[in-house]
């Protein structure tokens, strides 16, 4: 069964840890997939499903150019996934203004700019679809509760949550659904960086990873494909009544209070 047949999807951060899994999942279900990222290889360093369009989400010119290309190639956009994002492992005291502005530019402004310029193409798509067009933003469970030394990241994700609800209100009447998925711990290069204390490129600390896994009711951290499966549902017509919601997918991590070692 092809759950996305006939649909055109663009995934920002489409060559990153979770983004490439979404591209692959969408392609499996028959979508025409466009991976938008800074480079063809992305942070994971290999090629993947879907055609590629260069997109720095902080650049309005590049957002316009990417959508012009989608328009020329496909004439519409059914699905937009705003998966591009970065994190900074610092408290606010250690965060410079430049770092603060950069993470907001990517995580928040990027979601704004890409969505803004995708909307005309999505309106077109929504007219011919039973389930409407679907935008899936990337929030985080860190937008609800804090992990230590992720202050700016937590703040950007809180902003994405609020933006998600606002966009759902504004564009629902045009048949455009807007939701956010809020991942917990997912096995990605970003998480490896977090486990190694923010030292980019260092090996993931196996002990820290095991500790973290054991705190989860599911006793494991998530995979990019776990995320992709929820994004797929939200993108598909099955989710035609789902809008304006924040979908936490964290293996039960945030369902519990702090886990005492008793």
């Amino acid at each position: 069964m092809s759950r996305l047949s006939g649909k055109v999807a663009l995934v920002t951060g489409g060559r990153g840890g979770i983004g490439r899994a979404i591209c692959a999942r969408f392609a499996e279900e028959g979508a025409t997939v466009i991976a938008a990222d800074l480079s063809e290889q992305g942070s994971v360093g290999s090629e993947a499903e879907g055609s590629f369009v260069r997109l720095d989400v902080t650049s309005e010119d590049e957002a316009k150019a990417a959508m012009t290309q989608v328009s020329e190639d496909h004439g519409k956009l059914d699905i937009l996934v705003n998966a591009a994002g970065v994190e900074i492992e610092k408290t606010i005291e250690d965060t410079t203004l430049d770092e603060w502005n950069r993470i907001f530019a990517i995580n928040v402004t990027g979601t704004f700019l890409t969505s803004k310029h995708a909307l005309p193409l999505m309106r077109t798509a929504a007219k011919d679809s039973d389930g409407g067009a679907s935008i899936v933003n990337f929030g985080s469970y860190d937008g609800f509760i804090a992990d230590p030394q992720l202050a700016a990241y937590c703040a950007t994700k809180g902003a994405v949550h609020a933006l998600t609800r606002a966009m759902a209100c504004d564009h629902g009447p045009d048949g455009i659904r807007v939701n956010a998925i809020c991942p917990g711990f997912v096995d990605t290069p970003m998480l490896a960086s977090f486990f190694s204390g923010g030292d980019q490129g260092a090996a993931m600390s196996a002990a820290a990873r095991t500790e973290a896994e054991n705190v989860h009711p599911m006793r494991t951290i998530g995979t990019p494909r776990d995320m992709a499966n929820l994004v797929l549902w939200l993108a598909s017509d099955e989710a035609r009544y789902a809008s304006g919601q924040l979908w936490v997918l964290d293996g039960g991590l945030s369902a519990q209070v702090q886990q005492m070692r008793l």
Binding site: Y141, D142, I145, A146, D147, P148, Q149, F194, F195, G197, A208, E211, A212, V215, L253, S254, A255, Q256, V257, Q258, Q259, M260, R261, L262
Partner: protein
């Protein structure tokens, strides 16, 4: 100091010990007349309160309590019990005990006393455990979610004359907390680990809850209704991961 609850009459259920006692004492200090009810004879009741023997889980007992207490301005539904069990291990008797006190008790008292409140404030004691789960506390957690839901319903149905809010305490130094640590393999280690998970690096005290209860009982909080106010030293603002893991 101005007495912030002067001229007001309050009923605190389960006010003999722990959080309820802290609230009863704070209300007295702010000039309220304070009725306290409990299942016992009240031998060790807080000084200055009017004691009533009552079992909130029994509608008949609460019906008798009504005329004895009379009209009130403030109702604090604090009486509650906890049992440390999963769903599978919980017996029908556990259900009766927990849901009887924590859920039906709050319902019984609200039903009996709302008609006796011309205007006023109802303060229910919910819990952080009504929002996120404590392990092996299944019925307790669920009973507190009931309290949260009922809180909103009462606020909606019985405003504007009656305001209704819930306080959601975190780990407060009471007999309940000590009972939790006593279950640990290494109670001292469990205690220090738990402390590290609180941004304020201490557990709560009944007085921390009482100070919020005073505010919610007073006219200062006249616009607050239908809300759940968490007071937990920052514990649930942080993720459930082990502190110092990273």
């Amino acid at each position: 100091m101005t007495a912030r609850l002067a001229g007001k009459s309050a009923l605190v259920t389960g006010g003999r010990q722990g959080i309820g006692r802290g609230i009863a004492e704070a209300f007295l200090a702010e000039g309220a007349q304070v009725h306290v009810c409990g299942r016992g004879n009240g031998n060790d009741k807080p000084e200055g309160v009017i004691w009533h023997q009552a079992d909130v889980s029994s509608a008949a007992s609460v019906a008798e309590l009504g005329p004895a207490v009379g009209e009130i301005d403030i109702l604090v539904n604090n009486a509650g019990v906890q049992v440390e069990k999963t769903v599978v291990d919980s017996t029908d008797a556990d259900w009766e005990l927990i849901m009887g006190a924590n859920a039906r008790g709050v319902f019984n008292c609200c039903r009996a006393f709302i008609p006796k409140m011309t205007t006023g404030s109802i303060i229910n004691i919910g819990s952080i455990s009504g929002n996120v789960a404590d392990p092996s506390m299944a019925l307790y957690n669920a009973s507190k979610s009931f309290v949260h839901g009922l809180t909103r319903s009462i606020a909606v149905d019985h405003g504007p004359s009656i305001r209704c809010n819930a306080i959601c305490p975190g780990w407060i130094e009471t007999g309940m907390l000590e009972a939790g640590f006593a279950l640990a393999q290494d109670p001292e280690k469990a205690r220090s680990d738990a402390l590290a998970r609180h941004a304020v690096r201490r557990f709560g005290r009944p007085s921390d809850i009482a100070s919020l209860a005073v505010w919610l009982a007073s006219d200062e909080s006249g616009f607050a209704t239908g809300q759940l106010f968490t007071i937990d030293g920052g514990m649930t603002a942080a993720s459930p991961l082990q502190p110092g893991l990273f």
